[in-house]
Point group: C2
Chain length 199, copies 2
DNA sequence: TATGATACAGAATGAACGTTCAGTATAAAA
DNA sequence: TTTTATACTGAACGTTCATTCTGTATCATA
């Protein structure tokens, strides 16, 4: 790789890192390009040279995040035996992430912005669909291995993703000790039900 | 009531109705006061005379909505016998609402905006806390009547609210026939669990 | 009828921000 | 060394909007 290419990559990373921190601190909308300029020393034009737009910059950060998540999970999942344990493991990882990952808040805001370009709307759909897919294969595996009831994996995958999306949001009003408990209670209920006798 | 007061109330209602439609159509941010002016024939000044601010106008609509929801549920809940049935009933009403109520999308956007005044932040917290309270008493009643396991009602109430909040969001990417099924699957799992043997 | 409050009008304000673009510096390629 | 592509600069542009403010009309009240 060239000296120039390396420098270019460095500045791109520098911008991305600063942007992530700022988005985390102030939210998506409230973070202006000007802010990022001030934080990096790069110019506006340069940011637009490396990233197509503010939206594009944010999507870049989201992609990075998703990649990291999957890597982490791949490493971690082998410490659990059963699918049930794995589900609790997922819950734990998500709970920690909701509390700690810098982009959760901003991502939430970003997903709910109404003035999104169609391209962005598509990208978000793809992100969700990947999550659905992840849970669907997960549930299906649990069924095949005899751990789960023969439920409709497709619908339940969406329900599960919904649960975690909702928990993510609620976790912001709760105290941080409670967050773990809430996640656990939710998964507990999802696995074993809150009703007394199962029919 | 005066003729003047009646007129005043009428215009307030006219503005509220138009605003609701516009927010539903274009979202919160994308609906400008100018839009509402154009739709009502009222002036900017008049809108600010009746409502403290754009936020205030939206909160007014949210309050109306919550009132209506509770009224509807009060009427409807008597048609169900057990708490389990009632929970399915709640899910059904929420699913229908997510599909049909004009403000669901805009409310989502509004809740996730980062540039909220502290006052608004407080109001939103109160709204959520009311929902938690609702579910907590609901679950507690189920426990007392022997229908539910002796779970931690507080945590599970938050989990339930989370589930419905998440479902609400997911329901937008799904086809409208699926939405009902997804809600049902979710409640089914929450009540009876997806795991095969309960411990 | 005179007075005061309420309801309404709409121009003016003022700030915020994403994006573009014409131009410059740097380093790789020829 | 000359040429060319890449990396970078920052001023200027254009647009959007919520809110305020001064003034006026309308109706209730005294």
């Amino acid at each position: 790789m060239n000296k120039k290419q390396m420098q270019s990559e460095q500045t791109k990373k520098r911008v991305a890192d600063a942007a992530r921190s700022l988005f985390a601190l102030k939210g998506y909308k409230a973070t202006s390009i000007e802010d990022i300029v001030a934080a990096t020393g790069s110019s506006k034009g340069n940011i637009y040279y490396h990233f197509k737009s503010k939206e594009g910059l944010f999507l870049y950060l989201l992609d990075e995040w998703d990649r990291e998540w999957e890597e982490n999970w791949e490493k971690k999942q082998w410490q659990y035996q059963t699918m049930k344990e794995k589900l609790f493991g997922i819950a734990e990882q998500l709970a920690l992430e909701d509390l700690n990952h810098p982009l959760t808040r901003a991502a939430d805001e970003f997903f709910h912005l109404e003035e999104k370009s169609n391209e962005v709307e598509e990208r978000i759909k793809v992100i969700y669909q990947n999550h659905f897919q992840f849970f669907e294969t997960f549930i299906q595996r649990g069924i095949d291995q005899g751990e789960f009831k023969p439920v409709n994996a497709k619908y339940l995958a969406i329900a599960l993703e919904s649960l975690f999306v909702g928990l993510n949001q609620m976790s912001r009003t709760a105290s941080s000790e409670d967050v773990g408990k809430i996640y656990q209670s939710a998964v507990q209920a999802f696995l074993y039900g809150m009703a007394k006798e199962s029919d």
